[in-house]
Subunit: 259 residues, 2 copies
């Protein structure tokens, strides 16, 4: 069973490393990390570098596709045509197409989530909705047909265990959980927006601000690129919304049906 995990510049490493460590417990799992070309890919921290082992061209028909999310690079990645085309093409024959965190924003940008229920990182619900998905904010794993999306970053571990259960059975999934000793005991309880205090939310805003400032100082060109990409995404969402208001469009949608 070929499992293709997408890696890309600016990705969040834990989004994909959590699922990878679980999915590799599937008997016969043949894992690969794909991007436009094999080679090094730098994550959002700027210090985490990992390899794309295969190109998209070398990976025309994986059984499973999984894409993770990103902080700053969400805009850029959601308009990478080579990626979007590969996602659309491979999705035709996958057994499962999966995303973690803002990976679902990319699936939505590829047109794979139109009208479908999906989730994402709590900070990107409106973007996911803007891109035409039915954004579900109170579930950690959302599946519809062969598409399964997970909430932010660490949710990929839960999602992958669920997926292993579907693919290889509950016994193998339970074994994978024991292998990675996934008996979580977080020393705090502020892992979701519902549970976090206002002070915690302000601290997150400070972290995001620091990250953006760091990017602006150390990689001004990347910062400019991301900012432009995000405003392009905003434009695209605004245009989509405006088109939805057209009476003709509404009639056409009415007959297509949503999942």
């Amino acid at each position: 069973m070929q499992i293709a995990i997408v890696v890309y510049p600016g990705m969040t490493a834990l989004d994909i490393v959590g699922p990878y460590e679980v999915l590799r417990c599937i008997p016969g799992a043949d894992l690969r990390f794909v991007w436009t070309e094999p080679g090094p890919v730098i994550a959002d921290s700027g210090v985490f570098v990992m390899a794309a082992t295969h190109s998209f061209d070398e990976t025309p028909a994986p059984d499973i596709v999984l894409i993770g999310g990103s902080g700053a690079a969400s805009g850029t990645i959601a308009k990478n045509q080579q990626l979007l085309e590969w996602l659309r093409r491979t999705h035709e024959t996958t057994q499962w197409t999966a995303s973690v965190c803002t990976g679902s924003v990319v699936l939505a940008a590829a047109g794979l989530l139109d009208g479908k229920p999906a989730t994402t990182h709590w900070s990107e619900m409106s973007v996911l909705k803007g891109l035409g998905a039915q954004a579900i904010s109170d579930k950690r794993i959302v599946h519809t047909g062969k598409i399964v999306t997970g909430a932010g970053v660490s949710a990929g571990i839960d999602l992958a265990l669920w997926l292993v259960g579907r693919i290889a059975g509950d016994d193998v999934a339970r074994a994978a959980q024991l292998v990675i000793e996934y008996d979580p005991q977080p020393p705090y309880d502020s892992g979701s927006l519902q549970k976090a205090t206002a002070a915690t939310k302000r601290s997150v805003a400070a972290f995001v601000g620091r990250e953006a400032k760091k990017l602006a100082v150390t990689e001004p060109r990347a910062f400019l690129r991301e900012t432009t990409a995000l405003s392009e995404l905003a434009w695209r969402i605004a245009v989509r919304k405006a088109r939805r208001h057209s009476p003709g469009r509404r009639r056409a949608r009415g007959s297509s049906g949503a999942a």
Copy 2:
């Protein structure tokens, strides 16, 4: 604050990527991945490749050292003299020395856990004990002085949140938890030996057997190296046990005191 995360051939990726994603939320965190030389390092799966960004020599006095574990390479890594010496030397000035999974076996091999309470992956408790630590099997995080050890693989996320709380305060730790949306909802409940059924334990044995067979077939030299390293570790533990039975040795230990 310089945070050095050790990477090495045969490591388990999630052991370190979990903590990395959390620790980078510390304001002013300066993260680096260290090994004998900068360059690519292949994890235990054989398909996950990531970069060591700095050498040991370039990293003489990090504020935090964190080492993760490994499946097959535990024996080899626990007798790498260059690593053990670097761990001993940097530990003299660290604020925190941390391990996840069988990383504590390496700390023990470096002599940093003599008589001290520590934990590790459930499968390696006897090895940890054999190397002179006081092996604690029912805790996910064990700390003593400035050393903190975590249980298997995914425990690194819990450990890192705990560590962020100590270093930057509870507010920052809670923010880190919200950033990675760590609100775990595992779809199964077999993440610890106490909770897993006999069938699940048998499935894990099958997975470990497959991994060893894969290594024997695809990389016979690595397989031979690991097997030799493990038996050397067993010898070392046996000799340590035998020396403990010597009455003279016992007297000497009696005066040194344990944590």
